[in-house]
Symmetry: C2
Subunit: 306 residues, 2 copies
């Protein structure tokens, strides 16, 4: 069931920057993207095409997308929550969209003012827009647990997957643990059921948060269930356990360290990645997470004093 | 392979208090033990019989042991690193010893000035001392990884287990990840090999640290490999990632929360345990860890402000 390599999707520039209130200048974002690229990151959710009034941090999406397009071999996906924003992204030459919808009706309503079935129809409309060679991923928020309604029935998630697969099984299906409250057993079970039920879907991904400390454990459970694409955020950006409602992504460096120890290649240079994560930690308003960065810093200090 | 319940061994009063420099008054230790007992903890490594000069924090071992003996149904194990200290513990009416030795020769030398084989002989001498009805556990430090020498060859660990089992297979064998650097795949593999090779050993346990964020993931890997006894420390006491050489135990509340979500009973009341962990966090010099405490605090604040 396991592979000798795993593909990390760095989502820090989108999921990590988005909750930071103070606008990060576009040049500074580009500098951080440089560091990530230099560390070996080759797939990135670099920005989101969303209302600049609702999310001012993402207002520079077209400029950032254009910047990322100059980097050879970088697969840049951009988040879009609606047909209108997908049109904006495609007009800005996006080649890889990530359409987000929630399995939980309440969460989808709160996020995009749609029922899940209405979002499936949005997906159909977006697929119809895609020029030849443009790829699409589906970010299925609250695939396991909802901040409003708690645990999500796996049958509801499988139902939505089925409806989306009927529109296009060519998409990459990313099941997202939005709250960080799912446990590895349920991650493994749902991916196994989904893969069995929908063999026509060939690309699966997992997106998890580390709020309750299970970010890496859940990523490994997904990997062991045959999922070879995992989202993460450098420095564990994406929230703060002390801030109401905010929850951090699993840290890219925690995944790279763990997979490395397991002999599973990520193609990412840990020490250069740690430089990028260190820079992320200095962003005003950033709340970083993860454990490996602190542990390796402590280890380096020990070696200096030994 | 899995069970519907797991036995948590609370090691905070020993492994957690030991690295705290400032002496915690015995009454305060007893008060924290009360909170743990009231939360449902029924097995505890409550103290260590070690040289009071070397480890002043453990100087009140006999008093604490006597105090714990007054609590109905509490299984109290005390750490002993040598025959002499085992004699002291037995003289103080200890009914459950935990003998510690390291698989790594360098670590064992540093800890107890013995080769691993000399420690096996110490174990033989201690077993010969045990009165009827007294139980013994083996804490095999550096079963996976050594702070001095890095990864430990599983064959070396299996060799020592075999030598110890030849002395007594009645002991509980606890494989300890001393550095926090082992990954879940290796935890599962080693327990599976050990259980297959030594069917005469009926009691296995796992002790892990959360330094690199894998404390819960490794505990789950042990559990999934058939290990139903897991060590942990309330508040994640046991070290600080910013202090040279110190590494924290996996937090009891992280395990209780995770196992609870998985429908696996620990017999422990999470909210009362969180009170105990909150008290631990106020100990002068304590470095706490874990994630669930912060996450649930943030959640409670959200609900208050909602």
């Amino acid at each position: 069931m396991s592979a000798a390599s795993v593909s990390i999707v760095e989502v820090g520039p989108r999921d990590g920057f988005q909750p930071i209130n103070q606008f990060i200048p576009t040049e500074q974002k580009a500098g951080l993207i440089d560091l990530l690229y230099d560390a070996g990151i080759r797939r990135m959710e670099a920005t989101a095409f969303v209302s600049p009034r609702a999310v001012p941090q993402m207002a520079d999406a077209p400029e950032l997308l254009a910047y990322c397009a100059t980097k050879p071999g970088l697969d840049v996906q951009v988040l879009v929550p609606s047909q209108r924003q997908a049109e904006r992204a495609l007009a800005a030459d996006a080649r890889h969209l990530a359409f987000v919808l929630s399995v939980s009706p309440k969460h989808n309503q709160s996020n995009v003012l749609r029922t899940p079935r209405e979002s499936v129809e949005d997906f159909r409309a977006i697929v119809a827009l895609l020029p030849e060679g443009t790829r699409i991923r589906l970010n299925l928020a609250t695939s396991f647990d909802c901040p409003f309604d708690g645990p999500v029935d796996p049958v509801a998630t499988l139902d939505i997957i089925g409806a989306l697969a009927a529109v296009s099984a060519e998409a990459e299906f990313c099941l997202c643990d939005t709250t960080g409250r799912v446990t590895p057993d349920k991650v493994g079970d749902l991916f196994q059921r989904a893969r069995r039920l929908f063999p026509q879907i060939r690309q699966w991904a997992f997106h998890g948060h580390d709020t309750y400390g299970l970010g890496v454990a859940n990523a490994l459970a997904a990997f062991n269930a045959g999922v070879a694409v995992i989202d993460s955020s450098f420095g564990g950006l994406g929230g703060c356990p002390f801030a109401p409602g905010a929850t951090g992504n699993v840290a890219t460096e925690d995944l790279v360290w763990t997979f490395g120890k397991m002999g599973i290649s990520t193609g990412i240079d840990l020490s250069r990645l740690l430089e990028a994560a260190g820079s992320a930690a200095t962003l005003p308003g950033a709340c970083v997470g993860g454990r490996v960065r602190d542990a390796l810093t402590a280890q380096a200090r020990r070696e200096e004093t030994a």
